[in-house]
Amino acid sequence: MTPRTRARLRPEFLATITATAAVVATMAVAAALLALGGHSPGEAFAALARGAFGTWDRFVSFTLVRATPLLLTGLAVAFAFRARVWNIGAEGQLHAGALAGVAVALVLPGAGAVLVLPVTLLAAAAAGALWASIPAAMKTGMGVGEVITTLLMNFVALFLAQFLVQGPLRESRGVFNQTDEIPAAAHLPALLPDTRLHLGFLFGVVIAVGLWLYLTRTPGGFRLRAAGASVKAAEVSGRFSVAPVIWLSFLVSGAIAGLAGWIQIAGVTHRMYEGLSPGWGYTAIAVALLARLHPLAVVVTAIVFGALSAGGGAMQREAGVPEVWVRGIEALVILAVLTADRIVQWTTHSRD
C-alpha cells in the first residue's frame, strides 16, 4: 500500500479490516487443523457457539458461571498490574481465600446465612490479602521481585491446600481428600432463579465498577495509576511515596483473588478439595491483559474466556472433538483476538 492511499484510509477502518483478516485467518488455521484431525470444523465451531450462547440458560448457567472465577481473578491481576505490581500469585491467593472461607463456614455450622455469608467472604478476602502481603513485604522491604515471590507462594498455597484437605480439614468420614460439604447457610444464593448463576458474578461486576471508580475518580486511584506509569514521575512530580501504593495494590489484589476461591466453593462446588482451580489465577493474566487492565473491560474479556471454556465442553460433547484439540482451538481463538487487538492498537497509534 502506498503512503498516499494509506493516509487517506481512516485508521479505524483499516484496523477493522486487518483485525477481521487476522481473526478469519486464525480461525481458518483452526478449521484446517480440525479437518485434518477428521472433525467437521463447521460442526465443531457451531457446537462451540451453541455451548456458550445457544440458549439463555446456557449463557447464564454455563458461560457466566465459568466466567465468574476468571472475572474475579482477572480483576485482581488487572488492579495489581495497573500499579506495575506483577502479581502472578492470584492462583495462590485464590487457594488461601478458599481455605479460609471453608474453614470459617465449617466452624459456624449453626449460624444463619445473614451471619455466615459476610463472615466467610471477609475471611476469604483477608486470607487472600494476607497471602499477598508476604510478597508485598519482601518487595517493599527487601526489594525482592514480586514475579518470583508471588509465583512461589502459589506452590506453597497449593501444597497447604493439599495438606489441609488430607489432614485437618478432611471430611468427617475420613475417606476422600476433600472437606465436608459446607452448610447450606454458606451457599451463595442464585442470582437468577432457575439458573446455576450465583451471586458471585454480581460481586464481580460490582467490584469491577468499584475498581474503575477508584482508579479514575479518587486521589488514591490516581496515585496508583501514576505510580504504575512511572515511579520516578510519581515520586518527583507527584511528591508521594510509592511504597504505600504498592502495599495497597498487593492487598486489594490478593483480597479479590481470595474472594474468587471462596465464591467458587460457596457458589458452585460447596466443598474444598485438591485441584480446586484449573489455573484460573494464570488464565487471569490473559484476561486482564486482553482487557488492557481496564476493570470494566475485564468483565467483557472474562465472559469471552468463560464462553470459550463452556463452548469447549460442548465441542467435546456434541462434535466429538477430544479435549486436547479443544484446548488447542481455544488457544488459537485467544491468539486471534490478541492479534486483532494488537493490530487495532498499532494502526490507530502509528503516528509517533
Binding site: A7, R217, A234, R351, D352
Partner: protein, 520 residues
Amino acid sequence: MTVAARLDSITRRFGPVTALDKVDFELAPGEIHGLLGENGAGKTTLANILGGLLAPDAGRVEIGGQRVELRSARDARVLGVAMVHQHFSLVPRFTGFENVALFNGEAWTRRGMIAPGYRSQVEAHASELKLDAELDAPVAALGVGERQRVEILKALMSETRVLLLDEPTAVLAPQEVDGLFAVLREVAAAGTAIVLVAHKLDEVLAVADRVTVLRRGRHVLTEEAAGLSAGELAEAMVGRAVAAPSVSGVGSMGGGEGERGRPGGQTADGGGAQPSGEPDSTPVAILADVTIGAGEAPALSDVSMTVHRGEIFGIAGVDGNGQRALAAVLAGTLKPDTGAATLPDEVGWIPQDRGEEGLVKEFTITENVALALHEKPAYRRGPWLDWARIGETSAALVDELDVLARSPDTSAGTLSGGNQQKVVTGREFLRAGELLVAESPTRGLDVKATRAVRERIVQLARTGNRPPGVVLISADLDEVLELADRIAVMVRGRLIPVERDDHNAAAIGALMLSAGDGTP
C-alpha cells in the same frame, strides 16, 4: 567533490503532519555540519532518516555515493553511520565498558566472549580522543554528561563514515564543550563527516564548517559557517528577527524587566523586587550543613545555603556532582542524613529529566497537572477528585503557556519537548509559592522554547508582592550567568559560592573542574 552522504528531496509525514518536505541535504567527508532548527523543524527526523531509524515516504538516501534503503539503525551502522541520541541508548545496569562492547560487533569472539584485548583498545581510543569516559561504573549511576561521553565513545569505536550527534553540548561545562569540539575536529580531520544537531548558535558557529537550517520541515539555508552571524541564523530558524537568548538574554520580554544577565553585569530590576544577591530579603529556604551519603564520595557534603524571596540562586556545575541530591533535598523528597533543612511546605520542582520525572507520558496534560493538585482539598469533592476543577486549571494553564496541543486531554508523550517543558513549568509554578527549584530547565529545548521558559522563570521571581525564591541548577553555564543573581558551583557534593566579580565563564568553569576544595 566526493560526498559522504546525500539526502535527495526527502519527504516524511507523521499522520497529517509533514515533518520533512522535499529536503535536500549533503555531507562532505571530513566536514562538521551544523544542523539547526526549532523543535519540530524536522532536524531530528532528518537525522533519524540518515541514521536508519525512519524510512522516508519519498526521496533518495545515498551513502558513499550508493543509493541505499536503510531499514534499521543496524543497516546504517554497517554502512558507517553512527548516531548519538539526545536520549541515550545505553543499558543502565551495564558498565560503560560493557555498553561500548555490547554495541560493537568486533568486541566479541566467536564464542560470545568479550575479546581480551578489547578493553585496552577502548581505553586507548578514549585517551586518543581525549574522552574521559567512566568505564567501570554502571551507567545508571552516571550523570547525564558522563553518560554522553560513554555514548560518544561507543559510537566512535567502529569505523565511522558519518557521525550524527543530537544536541551533544547541552549538558557540558564550557571546558568540556571545548574538549568535545577538539575531539570532533580530530574525528573530522580523519575523514568522518559529522552532523551536529544543535540549538546553541554560538557553539555551532564556533565548530561547524557548514550550517544547514530547517524550518517547519523545509530547507531554509545551507552556507559556510564563516560567513554567518548568530543573529542571521536565529532569524533563519524562527522566520523573523529575534535576539538570540544566549547573546542578549531575555531582553525582548515585556513588562519592563529590562536588560539583565550579561556575564558580570549589574542586574537591573524593573519589577520592584529586591536588588538581587543581597541577603536583606526574607529567606524562604535554609540548608545548614546538609550531608547526604557518607564515606569517600557523599552525594552532598556540608552544604549550606539560604534562598531569599525574589532572587534567582544559580547553581553551576558539571552533571553528577550532587545537583540531583541538592534538588531533592530542596524539594523536600530527600531528608538530610545530617544537618538541617528549613523549607516551605510546598516547593515547585522542575526536574532535570522531564520525560521520566517531570511527566507521566501516558497521562494527559490534565492528569499531569493533577500530579500537583490531587492532594489539595480544593480539588476534591468528598472522596472524589474534582476533575472538572482540575480540568479548568489545566485548560487555563495550556492557554496561558501557549502549549501547542489540541486540548488538555492530549497525551503528554505526544507533545514536543518544548511543550512538555511548558506543562511541567506551569504545573510547578502552581506549587512555587515560596520556592522553585529548576533543574536544567531548558535542556534540549529550541531557541523559542528556551526563551519562553527563561522568561517565565524570571517573571516568576520578579513580579508580585511575595515572589518566590528560585534555585536554578543548570549545567549550562551561559544560562546560569544570564539568569542568576547569585551563583555557586557544585563540585563533588560541595557547594562553592562564587564572588560577584567572578561571574564569568572562565572563572566559574575553572571552579567547575576543580577538586571541590576551592583550589582550581
